[in-house]
């Protein structure tokens, strides 16, 4: 916290010595933020972005975990989709945007495609490796205790893989967030990315920096609230971290 205050102080001093217009200080940025919160522009944009993220990320999580499990345990899925998944991972998510725009038009569907494709594969690969690295002894022991079929999956394999799946989900979240902002910045109306673009068009550097501060704050907050505690709790009760 103290370190953060120091950074803001350095920023304030630095902005005084330069061009206030191109390099506004923390006070200008705070003012821009206040104005745009009051006008409702920022809250609306944040709400819009988070709603999009929630939809796209949920799809990614469900499909990604299912696909990862299938890749790890079903031979023919690995043989067919395995190479495709690895190959597609090489494509930065925003590169899907032109294709998505042509297919789905300038709308919600296109941005969801970008968000899903941006985060799905990292969740898939993390889940696959989590399931693959389960100690085989646990599965053998479970079988001697009469666990098989769906119950072996739900009660043993998925819980055993959970720490890895949670790490993958966390990674997927940051990828989804980045894909969303890139998409919004480039083409799609509404959302934080567009406010950023608006700031550039109006030469309102205070607004541009303000939105960037909001992006950082949201990223940190969501990572902490959604995943920080969850990951720590899982790792601790799985015995992966010493309490």
């Amino acid at each position: 916290m103290g370190f953060l205050a120091l950074l803001v102080a350095i920023w304030a001093v630095a902005s005084r010595s330069g061009d206030r217009f191109l390099f506004p200080g923390p006070d200008d940025v705070a003012m821009a933020l206040r104005d745009n919160v009051r006008s409702g522009l920022l809250p609306r944009a944040v709400g819009r972005s988070l709603a999009r993220l929630a939809v796209g990320y949920s799809v990614s999580l469900v499909v990604g975990v299912a696909l990862g499990v299938a890749l790890a345990r079903v031979r023919w899925v690995k043989d067919t989709l395995g190479a495709v998944v690895l190959g597609l991972q090489a494509i930065p998510s925003v590169c899907w945007l032109p294709l998505a725009l042509l297919w789905f038009g300038l709308g919600e569907m296109a941005i969801q495609v970008v968000v899903v494709l941006g985060s799905l594969l990292s969740i898939t690969l993390a889940t696959e490796s989590a399931v693959n690295t389960i100690p085989p002894l646990l599965v053998r022991a479970a079988r001697t205790m009469g666990a098989k079929g769906a119950r072996l999956w739900l009660r043993v394999i998925l819980p055993a893989a959970l720490p890895g799946i949670v790490s993958g989900a966390r990674l997927g979240w940051t990828f989804a967030w980045r894909s969303l902002l890139a998409g919004e910045l480039l083409f799609i109306s509404g959302g934080l990315g567009q406010v950023l673009e608006l700031g550039r068009e109006l030469h309102d550097m205070a607004l541009v920096l303000g939105v960037m501060v909001v992006i950082v704050a949201l990223g940190l907050a969501s990572d902490h609230l959604l995943f920080g505690g969850l990951e720590r709790r899982v790792r601790r009760s799985w015995g992966l971290d010493r309490a």
């Binding site: 646990l138 053998r140 001697t144 819980p159 009760s237």
Partner: protein, 280 residues
Amino acid sequence: MEPLIALRGVTKSWGGAGSALALAPVDLEIGEGQFVCLCGPSGCGKTTLLNLIAGLESPTSGAVTVRGAAVRGPGPERTVMFQESALFPWLTVQRNVEFPLEMAGVPAAERARRVERYLKMVHLWRSRDAHPHELSGGMRQRAAMARALVGEPSILLMDEPFAALDAQTRDVLHGELERIWLETRKTVVFVTHNVREAARLGDRVVMMGTRPGRITRDLAVKLSRPREANDQDVTTLAAVIERELKIEIEKVIREELDDAWTPAGGGLPGAAGRDLGGGI
């Protein structure tokens, strides 16, 4: 009378047909209530034999039967304890011990009663809410023992369950296992490479050799119980078993190292007159 467990002409090879046998044709009968130790050097197939009885592996040829019925996969009347506890790290000790009962569909009230009984039997009732990683190695094996017993199987299969523990903890757990066995009279098949452990625990010690894995000797142990690790009789018996196994163990070492290795005490080959006074 039909023995509880019977293996007839059982072989196992890991490759396809025609590859080397990990287990030569083995015949073995184990009667109800016996405590049988399978003892031999690494690579003799003792763990494979145990896994065949457990139903975790299937024989290449021959038949494994329990109460006359062929073994097809694992079953609740045969539980297994491994060298590592194989407890589920995400469950507490209590939930771990409850797990096989849940799989068997035992009602909740009965589950609670049984879990309490067996956790008290292994003296872990006070640690019931701990997670496995909070326990010592010995406590984890106690929990694994409770989990193996809680379903009240007729056969308990143990694959070097105490091999990773320090000597003192192992001694204590030998005593506990013997006490529990005397109390419950399960049929126990206990795999070990430790001859003292075999002599300390078994009613019967089945010795095995390598290349291919096979039974070399089947020794009945007629010592009274409870036994002590330092009983003269146990020590003597361990020495007997060790001597028997030595030939097999040397065979393994010779293959793992090279031909230059010579067994201790053998002197120099063809050099009886040049032993540098070793016999003084």
